[in-house]
């Protein structure tokens, strides 16, 4: 993510370097996408948010663009955007399905994404069309390693 999130295609093209700021937290039972979203699965339902690592790189989140309830999302496809003071980043869905709930608190308090990325800063709840997709996601250890490697590149 660092490269991609750190802004724009332009910026990553220019190989923006970011000093590693220390280890961001991960949560054990979540699954992670390489585009830095997490998903918490309960049966067919999945709650989606962005990771601590992602919010840390983005900085102060000032706006979260949410989808409508009922919208279809696909794994790897963009469903919304997070705006920070410095950057705009699309949010990709780690799973396919239908949006059944959105975190409406984010409209008034987008900073929840920074303050509580894994709890109060959740973004959408999805009714998954296939749980098979979960196998392509990373567990917390793999994701931690992935972040370290990505940061090391910069």
């Amino acid at each position: 993510m660092a490269s991609r999130l750190w802004a724009s295609r332009a910026a990553s093209y220019l190989r923006i370097s970011v000093l590693h700021r220390g280890f961001s937290s991960v949560v054990k039972d979540l699954k992670y996408a390489d585009s830095h979203e997490w998903v918490k699965v309960k049966g067919n339902s999945a709650i989606v948010g962005i990771t601590d690592h992602a919010q840390d790189h983005l900085g102060d989140v000032v706006y979260v663009e949410l989808p409508e309830v009922g919208a279809a999302v696909t794994q790897g496809g963009s469903f919304g955007a997070v705006e920070s003071v410095k950057a705009t980043s699309d949010i990709n869905s780690p799973v396919s399905g239908k949006v059944v709930e959105i975190n409406e608190e984010l409209s008034n308090s987008p900073g929840l994404v920074n303050a509580s990325p894994y709890e109060n800063g959740w973004i959408i709840k999805v009714e998954m069309s296939s749980t098979d997709e979960l196998t392509s996601l990373m567990d917390s250890d793999q994701y931690s390693k992935f972040c370290e490697e990505e940061d090391a590149k910069h």
Binding site: A7, I16, S17, V18, V85, K86, S89
Partner: protein, 408 residues
């Protein structure tokens, strides 16, 4: 999260590069970090937690440990110290340096008092902006100016070409590029009290836009009471071997209140102050009149012309430009460069050139160009972001009141 991201500074880098020679672009885009130029403060930035990014061919701090939000607020509450050594300081010397420069810029240079300066624009034959620059008339035979890092090569080539022609006709002008110096910008309400600790000169006698050569921290410096934040402050040109010591002394004298501040907050600050970022808000095809800088065209210059593109520019002043730079407040996500602007019926009327969330006002601010007629304060507009349109209104700039130190 995917990189649909539009990070303004990143954008401005690419856009600036896009204006340069294509071969140079290809070369620079693939430049590795090792090839990036470093200011003498580079290691100091890294030691202070600076996140270094490529900017106009230089490795510069985008931010330090504070968030961009906190850094922006701290500049307005206390103060900021920026390393702006990537910018190019230049002296023009010789008894004809004033008439020479007047051929290239819109300012009334001859009318400037000794030791005073102004924001100006270098224009091309079509009246478009080659760069913006703060110029100072040190004396009749010495002009000091600072140009944008991203424009350095083309500016110097432009000046050199005209200088050759000018000298061939017997004009007395020469230049010195101040690569032996570094440039620090000290901005915010604590700028003057902190700097006063480091010099015997009475800073209360130096007003906005004025220039002095004086000793700071025991070293011969050039200071200009100016900046790019809307706050009171100074740009200090210091011999490079003393730059780190001066930065340390400034931070120390402020007792930690003045903080190192990176390009990220610098961009928020200048946007709040309604100041143009060349490459975003002003480009080769933009005239100073369209950019809202008609005030910078001296009265005598309007009467006499005599600068590149004067015919186009003077005609625009007379007839009014077809597009104008204005400010906006808007709802929804922060507008970014290239967001479309529509009238309330959905017709295209222009484009955003810079935008973001204002840390001080806690709302979205933007600037851009609209067709004349839609430029009046309060005009309702729509700003299109990722296919959705959001309400906005034309607003006077600066968004945050400026606090320049002027004689009362």
């Amino acid at each position: 999260m995917r990189g649909g991201g539009l990070w303004q500074l990143g954008q401005s880098i690419t856009r600036r590069l896009a204006q340069a020679d294509k071969k140079v672009v290809a070369h620079r885009c693939f430049a590795t970090e090792a090839e990036l130029k470093k200011t003498v403060l580079y290691d100091f930035h890294v030691a202070n937690g600076g996140k270094m990014v490529p900017f106009a061919g230089w490795g510069m701090p985008i931010q330090y440990k504070d968030s961009i939000m906190d850094s922006t607020l701290n500049c307005r509450e206390n103060g900021s110290l920026f390393d702006v050594s990537h910018m190019c300081g230049l002296s023009l010397k010789g008894k004809d340096c004033v008439p020479f420069l007047e051929k290239l810029v819109i300012a009334d240079v001859a009318g400037l008092a000794h030791g005073t300066g102004t924001l100006t624009v270098f224009t091309n034959e079509k009246g478009g902006a080659i760069d913006d620059s703060v110029i100072t008339k040190v004396k009749d035979d010495h002009i000091y100016l600072v140009v944008n890092a991203g424009c350095r090569d083309k500016d110097l080539a432009h000046i050199e070409e005209h200088m050759k022609a000018f000298k061939a006709k017997g004009g007395d002008v020469s230049w010195h590029i101040h690569d032996e110096r570094s440039l620090l910008a000290l901005q915010g309400p604590l700028a003057a009290p902190v700097l006063q600790h480091l010099t015997k000169e009475d800073l209360s006698k130096i007003y906005f836009g004025e220039f002095r050569m004086l000793d700071i921290n025991g070293v011969h410096c050039f200071i200009t009471r100016t900046g790019y934040t809307g706050e009171d402050g100074f740009e200090i040109s210091v011999p490079s071997e003393h730059a780190v010591d001066l930065a340390k002394a400034i931070l120390e004298k402020s007792e930690g209140k003045v903080r190192l501040t990176g390009l990220g907050a610098r961009d928020s600050l200048r946007l709040e102050a309604g100041l143009c970022l060349y490459g975003n808000d002003m480009e080769q095809h933009t005239t100073p009149v369209e950019a809202g800088l008609t005030w910078a065209i001296g009265k005598r210059r309007r009467a006499e012309g005599g600068f590149l593109g004067a015919e186009v520019i003077l005609k625009q002043i007379e007839q009014g430009p077809s597009i104008r730079r204005v400010g906006f407040f808007s709802s929804g996500p922060p507008p970014r460069s290239h967001s479309e602007i529509q009238d309330d019926k959905g017709n295209n009327i222009g484009e955003v050139t810079s935008g973001g969330f204002s840390p001080c006002l806690k709302k979205n601010i933007a600037m851009g160009y609209v067709k004349s007629g839609f430029h009046k304060g309060g005009t309702k507009v729509k700003i299109v972001i990722r296919g959705k349109s959001y309400d906005g209104a034309v607003t006077k700039m600066p968004f945050v009141p400026t606090k320049y130190y002027k004689p009362s």
